[in-house]
Assembly symmetry: C2
Homo-oligomer: 202 residues x 2
């Protein structure tokens, strides 16, 4: 951000009066340009214990696998955004069971919210942003070819919860993305120790 | 938004190639400027059945009562943002019990997330954005002087749930803000019919 979107004046970064942190402020008209985290939302859609996944046709992470998800848009609810993304990326219609995970990614200013749902029918397939779409059981999932850590953690929790027979809402932070080995810290903190990815590739 | 924040070129509103809705696009450098909903978060902090509320010292709704809440910032989690706002507006420290409500406000591009918590101590008071801070029981709450419909609905649900002895996570849309009489539609839809504000001012 270099210029004011209202008057095209040059921006400076300073702490405005009455605020506690630096903001982009216009030197010409004085407007403050706030930046806030964005919501990413999608669905973990199940059919008989298998999960609907998409192989990405676009960057970032083209060619890797993900759950259908994307940025929430103005004018819609989080549920509507999750259903829209699932329709766009996997051409699938889902009955939503509820909100399942909320992961903060403070390093990149994102809040991920994934819903649990069941596929309404078997009429699905790749949308323009997907190379292919498929249903995977736990042992079939391409664990080494997942696009995002948020997706890996959501899948791990879901298969774990499925064995236990209930799906509590989970909240946590994904930290250390810069290190290449991001870690999920579930809230409350103690919970995280019980979550281990099953060793399937022995 | 009239000018490109990257090159100060003039913006136009058009549907970019491969997208399905109008965006602000720079005529000079071609950059797309996305706009997304913002997250507002805060705490319903309890002490022995009474709830900590703030009377607003700032616009909008100066002089009216609210729960401590505000916009989530870059670099923090939703919980951290809720705790920060509670500290800033009510000088209070809270032990968070969990996420309680998620309300979509599609008319104004906001997602409200309120946490339940308990006050850690009785050392609280107005921060710079509050005229006063007080603990209210259900019959003491200034129901006719609440700042936001999100706050009214969160309080109504909480006192209702408190009578039942459990606090399920609630998700819903607040619609019709333009009409002056916003309505909460809880998800799934059927739930909303059971929620009625108690008639306390008879």
């Amino acid at each position: 951000m270099k210029y004011c979107s209202h008057c095209a004046g040059p921006l400076t970064v300073e702490v405005p009066p009455g605020e506690d942190r630096p903001r982009h402020v216009c030197r010409q008209c004085g407007r403050i340009h706030y930046q806030n985290p964005r919501v990413v939302t999608g669905c973990l859609a199940e059919h008989e214990g298998r999960v609907l996944m998409c192989r990405r046709a676009i960057e970032p992470r083209r060619g890797l696998w993900t759950l259908p998800a994307g940025f929430m848009e103005l004018g819609e609810s989080v549920v509507e955004a999750a259903l829209r993304e699932t329709e766009e990326e996997a051409r699938a219609r889902v009955d939503i069971e509820g909100l399942y995970t909320l992961f903060n990614l403070p390093d990149i200013g994102q809040v991920y919210m994934m819903f649990r749902g069941t596929l309404r029918d078997q009429d699905w397939g790749p949308g323009p942003e997907s190379l292919e779409v498929a249903l995977f059981g736990e042992r079939e999932i391409p664990w080494e070819e997942l696009a995002f850590s948020t997706i890996r953690h959501t899948l791990e929790l879901w298969f774990d919860d499925r064995r236990r027979g209930h799906f509590p809402f989970r909240m946590g932070d994904i930290l250390g993305r810069g290190s290449g080995q991001p870690v999920l810290r579930l809230w409350p903190e103690g919970q995280s120790s019980s979550i281990q990815r099953p060793k399937l590739h022995s």
